[in-house]
């Protein structure tokens, strides 16, 4: 199964992705945690040099980082089979500029790689689960719209076929699952729910909603009223009200829904380990 995680910036996507991977691995699933792009976040988290070569974190968890350009190269190698030609292709100044600039090529290569296992393309990946920490909402849309646009634009040829196969995998609930991460605040919820709606409409899938940083207060809203005027109590009241409202809004969508607790730790590794058991609900 492929798990794709997105949400508004700053909601804790990477932490949630890592916690999900951690949880799956702890349950005996061979899990690959993937981050995208040229900078590594998990490098700080796992104190490992996370690059194109997967790094083994524990017996079942492996972390890697995929870049569009590298994926494109791999994909070309798969199609052309002759490394010398592929290298020529990439050492070529024109091709370099083209890959940098041409819209949608890198996105296509990334999704191609992510879905290669389920499409049975290339060597089988030795993993049961692939968890991808993707992009923030806007960029994530652009990611999946790339193969959709190309599938429409190019009726014939390998690239058109590849695009259509990717789209088919992305729409298959047995193969790909979506997670929209939010925190109990108005903006992240609104933006998250918009993304969820687009996933439903365009990918015909039911995304999982994850409400991160849910504060368990020892006192309920009614109890807090007694301490009106106390700065902290007032703050807490506003926060709890907002939290309840966000939760109701998110729940009302009738999508699979889970809450992850606010944790009193600034240590990311510790946070991941503590959140992992909560992923059971998903």
């Amino acid at each position: 199964m492929i798990h794709l995680i997105s949400g508004k910036g700053g909601v804790g996507k990477s932490t949630v992705a890592a916690a999900l991977a951690w949880h799956l691995a702890a349950n005996g699933r061979r899990t690959l945690l993937v981050e995208l792009g040229d900078r590594s976040y998990f490098r700080h988290v796992f104190q490992a040099d996370v690059g194109a070569h997967p790094v083994q974190i524990n017996s079942h968890l492996t972390v890697t980082r995929w870049e569009g350009e590298v994926c494109l190269k791999e994909y070309l190698l798969h199609l052309i089979k002759i490394e010398r030609v592929v290298n020529l292709f990439f050492d070529n100044k024109v091709m370099k500029a083209l890959v940098q600039a041409a819209p949608a090529l890198k996105e296509l290569a990334l999704l191609g790689k992510i879905t290669s296992g389920v499409r049975r393309i290339g060597p089988a990946l030795p993993y049961d689960e692939i968890v991808v920490d993707t992009y923030a909402t806007g960029h994530f849309r652009a990611l999946w719209r790339a193969p959709m646009g190309l599938a429409e634009a190019i009726p014939f040829g390998p690239m058109g076929e590849q695009s259509r196969a990717i789209v088919a995998a992305m729409k298959n609930p047995e193969q790909v699952r979506y997670y929209v991460v939010m925190i109990p605040e108005e903006l992240p919820v609104t933006e998250g729910l918009e993304l969820a709606r687009d996933i439903q409409n365009e990918l015909e899938q039911q995304p999982h909603l994850v409400l991160n940083r849910w504060l368990e207060s020892p006192l309920r809203l009614e109890q807090l009223k007694a301490f009106h005027g106390h700065g902290f109590a007032d703050y807490l009241s506003v926060l709890l009200e907002r939290q309840n409202h966000s939760c109701k809004t998110a729940e009302s969508r009738g999508l699979p829904f889970a809450r992850l607790p606010w944790l009193f730790t600034n240590n990311v590794s510790e946070r991941i380990a503590k959140l992992a058991p909560h992923m059971e609900a998903l």
């Binding site: 292709f89 024109v94 500029a97 041409a102 819209p103």
Partner: protein, 363 residues
């Protein structure tokens, strides 16, 4: 802060997504307008309520006066139509139409990676020339890395390199061109590209580059102008960052990148620093002291405070590095996490006041 606003023609709020750039840009706009500067805030995709407060909910792409704030205008940039307008203003209609119909062009303008940044800069250039404004504040689009924004024109310009356009737009010259510029084996490359993508894709690419080659002159002109504008002494950057260790690390990288490019970072705003209550009063009446609930509330409060104490340590490390990187470290402004979501004009005004007060109390 008012002096800083008055010294600039352009202020650019940069930072990664989710740190509150949009509401801070708007607040700075309010502060500037209150200080008598005719100000325009250029923003991208503000949240619904904020857009309403700024009077932006109906129309994109035009400057509208912000209700209740004399001297302040706001504009929501619509990257798609801005790009189309740019094309229409740069080439004749037939070519523009050809481009609009090309699928890859459609991908390019709807893909957030690059075109949004480019269109904001195009729009910024236009607004700076508007004699009706003393100051233009630009809220930058959400990027994964704050630095992406700066590299956008460069990335887009890569599309217009002679080599790429020459290769695709003038197929009849292909033979000689290849002989001139490319390594041995280019034939293989062409064949490979065609094998991979299919001839339809190549046709689409050629079409794309043929049309877009007409834009080259304008784009390069714009790139120069943008470069000049960004480097001007009257253009300042304000880095907005959140308060966690990764965000702060990114902020450090951004600062280094700005310095590397000789751009002027004028301030760092660490947003949502501490919750509002950490600075407020926590007086309680004597009658509460026997309440079991209050005991619990106090314990909870202590837990929170300890959490923030730890976070302070991360920040101290950040400031230490910041001091080490440059001879002239930028002032760091710390804003609290307001308990209410910043969305109405009153909220923006409150943030503006806080910014000004905090700025004044900086050493």
């Amino acid at each position: 802060m008012i002096d800083l606003l008055k010294r600039h023609r352009v202020l650019i709020c940069a930072g990664t997504g989710g740190v509150g750039k949009t509401s801070l840009s708007a607040s700075l706009g309010v502060l500037a307008a209150q200080s008598g500067l005719r100000t325009l805030v250029l923003t991208i995709d503000p949240a619904h309520r904020l857009a309403q407060a700024l009077g932006l909910e109906k129309q994109a792409g035009v400057d509208v006066p912000v209700p209740a704030v004399p001297g302040l205008h706001a504009c929501m940039i619509d990257p798609r139509s801005e790009f189309d307008e740019f094309v229409l203003g740069s080439v004749d209609n037939t070519i523009a139409k050809g481009l609009f119909n090309n699928r890859l062009y459609q991908q390019l303008v709807s893909n957030l990676n690059g075109s949004q940044e480019f269109t904001s800069l195009v729009r910024l250039l236009k607004s700076v020339r508007d004699p009706n404004y003393d100051l233009v504040i630009l809220d930058t689009p959400p990027t994964q890395n704050a630095v992406d924004f700066l590299k956008a024109p460069e990335r887009l310009y890569a599309l217009f390199q002679d080599t790429v356009i020459g290769w695709f737009a003038h197929p009849e010259k292909e033979e000689s061109f290849i002989k001139r510029t490319l390594h041995r084996g280019t034939r293989l490359v062409t064949t490979a590209l065609e094998a991979v993508t299919g001839s339809k894709f190549i046709a689409e690419l050629k079409d794309f580059f043929t049309h877009i080659s007409h834009l080259r002159g304008r784009i390069s002109e714009i790139s120069w102008q943008v470069g000049d504008l960004l480097h001007a002494e009257s253009t300042g950057f304000i880095l907005v960052t959140g308060f966690d260790e990764t965000k702060l690390k990114e902020a450090l990288e951004f600062q280094a990148d700005l310095q590397g490019e000789n751009l002027h970072l004028r301030a760092v705003i660490v947003n949502r620093w501490f919750p509002e209550w950490s600075e407020g009063s926590h007086q309680w009446s004597a009658e509460w002291s026997h309440s079991a609930d209050f005991k619990e509330l106090k314990e909870f409060y202590e837990r929170f405070s300890e959490f923030f104490r730890q976070r302070q340590e991360a920040y101290d490390r950040f400031v230490h590095h910041l001091g080490q990187t440059g001879a002239d470290p930028s002032p760091v402004l710390k804003l609290p996490d307001f308990k209410n979501t910043v969305q109405g004009i009153e909220d923006l005004t409150r943030v503006a006041t806080t910014i000004n007060e905090k700025w004044r109390s900086l050493p």
